[in-house]
């Protein structure tokens, strides 16, 4: 397991497939070989109101909005990741795929929000010791949200030891949308050995960003360009 970086590729005009194709040709110029497909999906459950009331005795009461995210990654097909998200804190559980069967039994605690399901799908490439996954993010309704690129460097598992090479590699096919500073998630764990859970937490972070962007009107090109413009402005 190497270090994984997730990068949103700006798609201001929502070309979608065209932009993905562009990335495919660029990465092919680097000598990348397509190597199957991949998919990462995320289901979100909200804690039931009455339960959260008697669960949160010590603190702030029922206003606490606890969420349970269930994620799957085709890279680790036998695992289910459950991430409990409460303000300021995340607990990650890496379980067998059988964990999914346990979820209906928790229905009295958590209720699923069907329209919040989000997934990214695309092609997986290998280039030397890099694994590149270019995926397009969409909601369960089929609504296209953007492009998410995952790059994993297999030769190193500590971000501090390999960020320069990762950054340069990302910039070599995505250009200046890649910040020269490591993403905040990696920065917080710069000296730690990365594992599969770290990849999933980064995906959750990005998925949450994409979901929040849906608060804007969907068809408006101006609002859709909002995340793209912010990410391009960061390096300068």
């Amino acid at each position: 397991m190497g270090v994984t970086v997730l990068q949103t590729f700006p798609d201001a005009f929502r070309y979608g497939y065209k932009e993905v194709e562009k990335l495919h040709t660029r990465i092919a110029h680097l000598g990348a070989q397509p190597n199957g497909v991949f998919q990462v999906d995320c289901d979100t459950y909200y804690m039931n109101q009455q339960n959260s009331q008697f669960n949160d005795i010590p603190g702030s009461g029922s206003t606490v909005n606890k969420k349970l995210h269930i994620l799957h990654n085709t890279e680790t097909p036998a695992s289910t990741y459950a991430i409990i998200e409460s303000p300021g804190k995340q607990v990650t559980l890496c379980a067998d795929l059988m964990f999914d069967l346990l979820l209906p039994r928790l229905s009295h605690m958590y209720t699923a929000k069907k329209n919040l399901k989000v997934e990214t799908k695309g092609t997986r490439f290998t280039v030397s010791d890099f694994i590149v996954k270019i995926g397009s993010v969409s909601m369960s309704s089929g609504q296209y949200k953007g492009i998410l690129v995952e790059v994993e460097y297999l030769a190193c598992s500590v971000p501090a030891l390999c960020w320069p090479i990762l950054r340069e590699f990302l910039q070599s096919f995505m250009g200046f949308c890649v910040s020269s500073q490591p993403p905040p998630y990696l920065q917080a764990r710069f000296q730690q050995v990365q594992g599969p859970q770290d990849t999933m937490q980064q995906y959750l972070e990005k998925f949450n960003e994409f979901r929040e962007s849906s608060a804007y009107p969907v068809t408006g090109s101006l609002s859709a360009s909002q995340p793209g413009t912010t990410s391009t402005s960061t390096p300068s």
Binding site: M1, G2, L30, G31, V127, S128, D129, F130, Y153, L154, A155, C156, S157, V158, L161, C162, W163, P164, I165, E168, F169, S172, V193
Partner: protein, 347 residues
């Protein structure tokens, strides 16, 4: 050879008639005055006498067994008579045997160990091989040894001459090397080194670098295997033969370094392209730094060089100023300056 044959045949013919004292006395007289070959021949004849009487004794025992089986069917009194008769027979034969053994013992103890043995090497023994197709071997081997000596002498001379020149590329710009270069080439045999010396050297290198950990193990006898862990970056397995590095293998930090039996895996190459390339370069460095006369220095230089990989993924190439080129970090380190270069950017 001829005398031995004659005496043996003589003793053999004398054995069935149980005329033991005759060869004994004649042999003893011969051995007293005779030079070594005759003495040896006499000893052999005594040995034969011992064997002869032993055979006789066993034959008698066997005969007696057969006879008694037959007699069981007949008379008891005749059986007893027969038994007494055979007992006396056995006793005389046994006495004979004991006497022979004693004389043989005396004779053998009087034989002094062969004096010429120490000067005879294996090479000389090879020349005594009577097989005609192997007679050439002695000559060839001798020539081989002569040439080995010549090569050794020439290399000693050339090493002394080259050691004075400053163009010696294989030495590190190390303050230690100046003092060590003046030292006469005392250690010429780097293959048979005491284990303590190897351990001490590795330990001192281990202390020299904080972020590089070296552990010595000996899973295959006296030759050491050094395991290197450089930070959280890479692991290496270095096979030593005495004080010479024999093989180098570099793998990633998170790749397993044990084989399925739980021992150090010294053969399985890395799965990652970067470390395969580093392994190739490390093997080249091993050959570059190899200097049979300053083996400890060559090991030291090699590890200094290997330590320079601590910035493998972070330091840009000296020539093109990029970290990644051809999807690979700068995997080559200059031998003297330790500057990083890409494989294709090498000066």
């Amino acid at each position: 050879m001829a005398t031995t044959d004659a005496s043996t045949t003589g003793s053999c013919s004398s054995m069935p008639t149980s005329n033991r004292p005759d060869p004994n006395t004649s042999g003893g007289a011969m051995a007293g005055a005779a030079p070594t070959p005759e003495k040896l021949a006499a000893c052999l004849s005594y040995l034969r006498a011992v064997r002869g009487s032993a055979t006789q004794f066993f034959a008698l025992l066997a005969q007696q067994g057969e006879g008694s089986e037959n007699l069981m069917l007949f008379d008891v009194s005749t059986k007893k008579e027969e038994q007494a008769d055979t007992e006396t027979k056995i006793k005389t034969v046994l006495d004979d045997l004991m006497k022979n053994v004693k004389t043989l013992q005396c004779e053998v103890s009087s034989l002094s160990p062969i004096v010429g043995n120490s000067t005879q090497s294996n090479l000389d023994l090879l020349s005594l091989d009577p097989a005609t197709d192997k007679q050439q071997l002695h000559h060839q081997l001798r020539q081989c040894y002569i040439w080995m000596d010549k090569v050794y002498n020439y290399s000693t001379m050339s090493h002394m001459l080259i050691g004075h020149s400053h163009l010696n590329r294989s030495q590190m710009p190390n303050p230690l090397s100046v003092s060590k270069r003046r030292r006469p080439p005392a250690i010429s045999n780097n293959v048979n080194v005491p284990q303590q010396q190897v351990d001490a050297l590795i330990l001192s290198i281990n202390k020299q670098f904080q972020d590089m950990m070296l552990t010595v193990s000996r899973p295959m006898g006296s030759n050491a295997i050094v395991q290197v862990t450089l930070g959280q970056l890479l692991r290496g397995v270095i096979t030593l033969r005495g004080l010479l590095i024999e093989a180098v293998l570099i793998r990633g930090y998170n790749e397993s370094f044990l084989d399925h039996q739980g021992r150090e895996d010294i053969f399985k190459p890395s799965q990652l392209a970067v470390f395969q390339r580093v392994t190739d370069n490390a093997s080249a460095a091993m050959l570059h730094f190899c200097s049979p006369y300053l083996a400890d220095l060559s090991i030291r230089s090699f590890f200094t060089w290997l330590h320079s990989f601590s910035n493998l993924f972070t330091e840009p190439c000296t020539k093109c100023n990029c970290t990644v080129s051809n999807n690979s970090p700068p995997t080559w380190r200059e031998f003297r300056t330790l500057l990083p270069y890409h494989q294709h950017c090498r000066p």
